[in-house]
C-alpha cells in the first residue's frame, strides 16, 4: 500500500517538475509546480510527517504559488509569456548536474530504508523546536527578515533612479 502510494506520488512529483521546465507558458509552469509541491506534501504524509505535510501545503501550495502567480500577473506577460530558454542555460545545466551528483551520492550512501517511521506528537515537536532548536529556528526567521528588507531596498532604489 505504502509503495503503491509512493509510486503514484513520485510520478506526480517528477511529472510536475518536468512540466515546469517543458511548458512554454509561465502560468502553466506555476500550476505544474503546484502539482509537484502538493505531491511532495503527500510524500511527507507517507513518511508520517503530518505537520510537515500541512506546512508544505500552507506555505508552498498556498502562499508561494499565489505570490508567484501574482508576480506573473503584474509583469507584462503579453510581451514574453513563452520564453523557456535563455543564455544562462549552460550554467544552469552545470548546477543541475552538480545537485544531481550530490543527491545521487547521498542516496547511495545511507541506510534510511532501515529507520522505523515514527510520528511525533505535535506538542513534542513544538517543545524540541522552541528549546533544542530555538537558535536555528530564529536564524531562519532572520533570513526571511533580511530578504524582506532587501526587497524593499531594491524596490526603493529603482524609485530613486527614475
Amino acid at each position: 500500500m505504502s509503495w503503491f502510494l509512493f509510486i503514484i506520488l513520485a510520478v506526480f512529483t517528477l511529472g510536475g517538475g518536468l512540466g515546469v521546465v517543458v511548458t512554454r507558458n509561465v502560468v502553466h509552469a506555476a500550476l505544474f509546480l503546484l502539482v509537484s509541491l502538493v505531491a511532495v506534501a503527500g510524500l511527507y504524509l507517507i513518511l508520517f510527517a503530518e505537520f510537515l505535510a500541512l506546512v508544505q501545503v500552507l506555505i508552498y501550495g498556498g502562499a508561494i504559488i499565489i505570490v508567484l502567480i501574482f508576480a506573473i500577473m503584474l509583469t507584462r506577460t503579453a510581451e514574453y509569456p513563452y520564453i523557456s530558454d535563455n543564455r544562462q542555460w549552460p550554467l544552469a545545466a552545470v548546477a543541475a548536474a552538480a545537485v544531481g551528483v550530490v543527491l545521487g551520492a547521498a542516496f547511495l550512501d545511507n541506510n534510511h530504508l532501515q529507520t522505523a517511521p515514527n510520528s511525533p506528537a505535535f506538542a513534542d515537536l513544538a517543545n524540541s523546536l522552541f528549546t533544542t532548536w530555538a537558535i536555528p529556528f530564529e536564524v531562519a526567521s532572520l533570513v526571511l527578515l533580511v530578504a524582506l528588507i532587501g526587497a524593499i531596498i531594491i524596490a526603493r532604489a529603482g524609485e530613486d533612479n527614475s
Partner: protein
C-alpha cells in the same frame, strides 16, 4: 498489509466507509447551501422592507431549487481567448478546497468525517489553496476585469489570512491543542468569546474578508470589476463558485462557533441542564441535541453575516488593505501577546477579558477617529468659510 498512514484510509472496508461518509457530507453541505441562499434572500428582503421570495412553494422555500435548475440549464459559455485548461481547473480548485476543509470540522462530539490532531492547522492550510483558484479564474478568462479581480482577491485574501492564523494560534494556546474537539471541550464552562472577545472580533471580521462577503466583497464588486474573477463564467461553472462561496461562509460561521462560542456545549456546561427531567437513555439522543444546538449557533452567526451585508456599504480597496495591515494584523499580534502573558503568569481569567476589551476599545476609538476625520475637516472648512463670509459682510457694512 494494513499500514497506519495518518490521514489515509487503509482497509477496503474503511475506503468504502470513507466514500459513503464523503457523499453524506457532500449532500449535507449542498442542502445547507440551498437553505443559506433562501435565508439570505429572505433576510435581505426583510432588511430592505421587502418580502423576499414568496411565489415558489410555501414561503418561497422552493426558490433555491428553482435557481439551481435554472443555473444548470443555462448555456455554459467558454470564451475563445481563454486559457482552457486553467479556465476548467480554477472552479475545481476553489470547490475542492471548500470541501476539504469540512473533512475535519465536527458538527457534534462524534459527528466528524475524520478528526485530526492538527485539525485547525489543516483548515488554515487548505483554506489558502482556495485563493489560488480565484486568481487562476481571473487570469484564465482572459478578461481585464477578471485579471483585476484576481489580483484584488490575491492581495485581499493573503492579507486577511494573517490575522486569522494569528488568532487561531491564540486559541490554540488557550486550549493547548489544535484538535477542534479538544477546543470545544475546553470551553465547556466559559466560551472563549467571553475570555478573548478581541479574538472573536478579529476572527469574525477577517473571516468575512476571507469569504468575500459585503463590506469586503471588493474583488467581485459588480460596480467596479463587474464580477471580478467570475466575469466570464456562466451556468454550471459559475454555480460551482457560488457553491464554494456559501460553503466557505458556512465554514467560517462554524469555526466562529467552534472556536469562540463553545461549539455544541450548552451555556454554563451540561450541569445547567440538570433541572430537566432526565432524558431517556438513547445512544443517539445526546449527539442529536448537540447537533441541533450547534446548528442553531451557526445559523445565528450566519444571520449576523447577512445583517452586515444588508447594512454596510462596500469598502474601497486601499481602505481594505490599510485596515488589514494597520488594524487587524497588530490586533491579532496583541491577542497572542496577552494570551501568552495570561497563560505564563497564570493570572485569573477576568484579566484576559479586561486586556482584550481594552485593546478593542482603544483600537475601535482610533478607527472611529480616522473614519470621522473627513467629516471633521469638512466641518472645519465650512466653519472657516462661514467666518470669512461674516467678516466680509461686516467689512462691507462698515465700508
Amino acid at each position: 498489509m494494513p499500514v497506519a498512514v495518518p490521514f489515509l484510509a487503509v482497509t477496503i472496508l474503511e475506503v468504502v466507509w470513507m466514500v459513503v461518509a464523503l457523499l453524506a457530507m457532500f449532500t449535507g453541505l449542498s442542502v445547507v447551501v440551498l437553505s443559506l441562499t433562501w435565508l439570505e434572500r429572505k433576510a435581505l428582503g426583510r432588511l430592505q422592507q421587502r418580502l423576499g421570495p414568496t411565489r415558489t412553494g410555501l414561503f418561497g422555500l422552493m426558490q433555491p431549487v428553482a435557481d439551481a435548475v435554472k443555473l444548470i440549464l443555462k448555456e455554459d459559455i467558454i470564451p475563445n481567448s481563454s486559457d482552457r485548461a486553467i479556465f476548467w481547473a480554477a472552479p475545481v480548485i476553489v470547490v475542492l478546497s471548500a470541501f476539504m476543509i469540512w473533512v475535519t470540522i465536527p458538527a457534534a462530539e462524534g459527528l466528524v468525517l475524520r478528526n485530526l490532531e492538527l485539525g485547525l492547522f489543516y483548515i488554515t492550510a487548505f483554506a489558502v489553496v482556495g485563493i489560488l483558484g480565484l486568481v487562476l479564474a481571473g487570469w484564465g478568462s482572459a478578461n481585464k476585469y477578471g485579471v483585476l479581480g484576481g489580483l484584488r482577491s490575491a492581495a485581499q485574501l493573503i492579507s486577511y489570512e494573517i490575522p486569522i492564523i494569528m488568532v487561531v494560534v491564540a486559541v490554540g494556546m488557550m486550549a493547548q491543542s489544535l484538535d477542534l474537539r479538544v477546543i470545544v471541550a475546553s470551553q465547556e464552562q466559559i466560551p472563549y468569546a467571553v475570555l478573548l472577545p478581541l479574538g472573536l472580533v478579529v476572527f469574525f471580521i477577517a473571516g468575512l474578508a476571507e469569504v468575500g462577503r459585503t463590506p469586503f466583497d471588493i474583488y467581485h464588486a459588480e460596480s467596479e470589476v463587474v464580477g471580478g474573477p467570475f466575469v466570464e463564467y456562466s451556468g454550471a461553472h459559475w454555480s460551482v463558485f457560488f457553491l464554494a462561496e456559501y460553503i466557505n461562509t458556512f465554514a467560517i460561521a462554524a469555526l466562529v462557533t467552534l472556536l469562540f462560542l463553545g461549539g455544541w456545549s450548552w451555556p454554563w456546561g451540561s450541569a445547567a441542564l440538570s433541572w430537566l427531567p432526565s432524558l431517556p437513555d438513547i445512544a443517539w439522543l445526546g449527539p442529536l441535541l448537540h447537533l441541533v444546538w450547534f446548528l442553531f449557533k451557526v445559523y445565528a452567526v450566519i444571520l449576523v453575516v447577512f445583517w452586515i451585508r444588508g447594512t454596510f456599504p462596500r469598502l474601497r480597496i486601499d481602505q481594505l488593505m490599510a485596515f488589514a495591515w494597520k488594524v487587524m494584523v497588530p490586533l491579532s499580534f496583541f491577542a497572542i501577546v496577552i494570551t501568552a502573558v495570561y497563560l505564563f503568569y497564570d493570572w485569573p481569567a477576568w484579566t484576559l477579558t479586561l486586556m482584550s476589551l481594552t485593546g478593542l476599545v482603544v483600537v475601535g476609538y482610533i478607527v472611529y477617529r480616522k473614519m470621522m476625520e473627513p467629516a471633521r475637516r469638512i466641518a472645519e472648512v465650512k466653519a472657516r468659510q462661514a467666518a470669512q463670509a461674516a467678516q466680509r459682510q461686516a467689512s462691507r457694512q462698515t465700508g
